[in-house]
Symmetry: C2
């Protein structure tokens, strides 16, 4: 009987983990494709990203339901319980990453007849490469339950934040130079912000891996989730610059 | 024994619901204060909002942990289970509303020496009043488990979206008219977006109330959570306007 319970827990966990692995692949693809659509002004690709988001939403709901039923039926303890709680958290982060990809895709759809300033789009592309490699690394760390690696990955988020800061400045300067850039740059500004938040969610996943393995939260004063760690930084930096630029 | 289990479940649920009610009050206050800080350029008030966010994060973590333990220990079924799952979802929405309030407050801190264009700040204030009344109504509906009311409230989100659309246009026009407005307007643009997302989270809460009472999801093609229901609208509307404005 004990044996039976244990193996059922294992099977249910395995099912949930397979779903999360699929969700991870899909979230990566959505981000990749939304940025590709932005760069190439590919309206069709952007639309397919928007459509894909429903699948990710459904997958998250399924993981949620299965996880809750597993907790109620199997009453897992200690790391077994943390595995399930961790799965709920990670699937929520992946769903939100998909949402952010969809938001970028929607901007492509809304503005596909605008020409994007090429060097700024390149900045976004570079930033998205960083965020995607962060996401890929953290999903690998999850697959191997490597919480030491997860902790390392987490520190890389500062690099994405720094890129956002620099892109934010650049976009505002560009808007000030020529008002015809304002519409396109506003969309790029929101897209850059979305990518920065993808990095935040990758960081959340790293923290969840640490929690699953150790039962502890990583010591941190990092603001989490929706918050934007470096948000004040670009504005701080910009305040004098914008004053100069606009005076 | 049965009686004992039932009453323990009830006590645990009561504890969780009390925490959520406190979280709701705190999230409301954070949004209210962050917008007040924005309007009055009140740096001190903005800082206290940022500090308060840690309390809301901690409360959410506590609700999560208690809820998971209750599921594992009491194995609630049907509506009892949905009450607990609903509590997890609602506390997550409230935590994110607090985060959005904090993000607005951070923009106040970053730009407190900039003068905000007064009519645009008023637009933000009006939008935040709508979002706050939406939040208050949905928390009342949760307190009384009034899923019919929840369904009604949910439709009000369109009004917030429409205000965001109109404010988005106005802010961009203002930026195009005078590049000196760009920095301040960019912050207001992000603040308006944050408020629009607060409305989305209130809508999520309404959907959760419906789920708790009925066991079903509200039929909807509304994009959820982080997504931005009306995001394409302002851009669609704006595309010709910005062309004109910038030409």
């Amino acid at each position: 009987m004990e044996q039976h319970i244990v193996s059922s827990y294992d099977e249910e966990l395995k099912f949930i983990l397979r779903r999360i692995s699929e969700m991870g692949g899909q979230a990566e693809r959505m981000v990749e494709q939304s940025v590709a659509a932005l760069i190439r002004s590919d309206w069709g690709l952007a639309q397919s990203v928007v459509a894909d988001d429903m699948l990710l939403d459904a997958a998250q709901r399924e993981v949620d339901e299965r996880a809750i039923m597993t907790i109620a039926k199997r009453q897992p303890m200690a790391q077994d319980l943390r595995e399930i709680v961790g799965a709920i958290r990670i699937s929520s982060d992946l769903e939100r990453i998909g949402d952010l990809g969809k938001n970028i895709a929607k901007r492509v759809i809304a503005t596909h007849d605008h020409v994007q300033p090429i060097q700024l789009v390149r900045g976004i592309e570079h930033m998205s490469e960083l965020a995607l490699s962060q996401l890929k690394d953290v999903l690998d760390a999850y697959a191997t339950r490597d919480h030491v690696r997860a902790e390392e990955i987490r520190t890389n988020d500062a690099e994405i934040d720094a890129m956002y800061t620099s892109l934010f400045r650049e976009l505002l300067t560009y808007m000030m130079e020529d008002p015809r850039n304002i519409t396109a740059c506003t969309h790029l500004l929101f897209s850059a912000k979305n990518i920065e938040r993808i990095g935040d969610h990758a960081t959340n996943i790293a923290e969840t891996i640490y929690y699953i393995k150790t039962g502890r939260q990583i010591e941190t004063d990092r603001p989490k989730g929706d918050s934007t760690p470096s948000m004040t930084t670009p504005e701080r930096l910009l305040t004098p610059a914008s004053g100069d630029g606009a005076a």
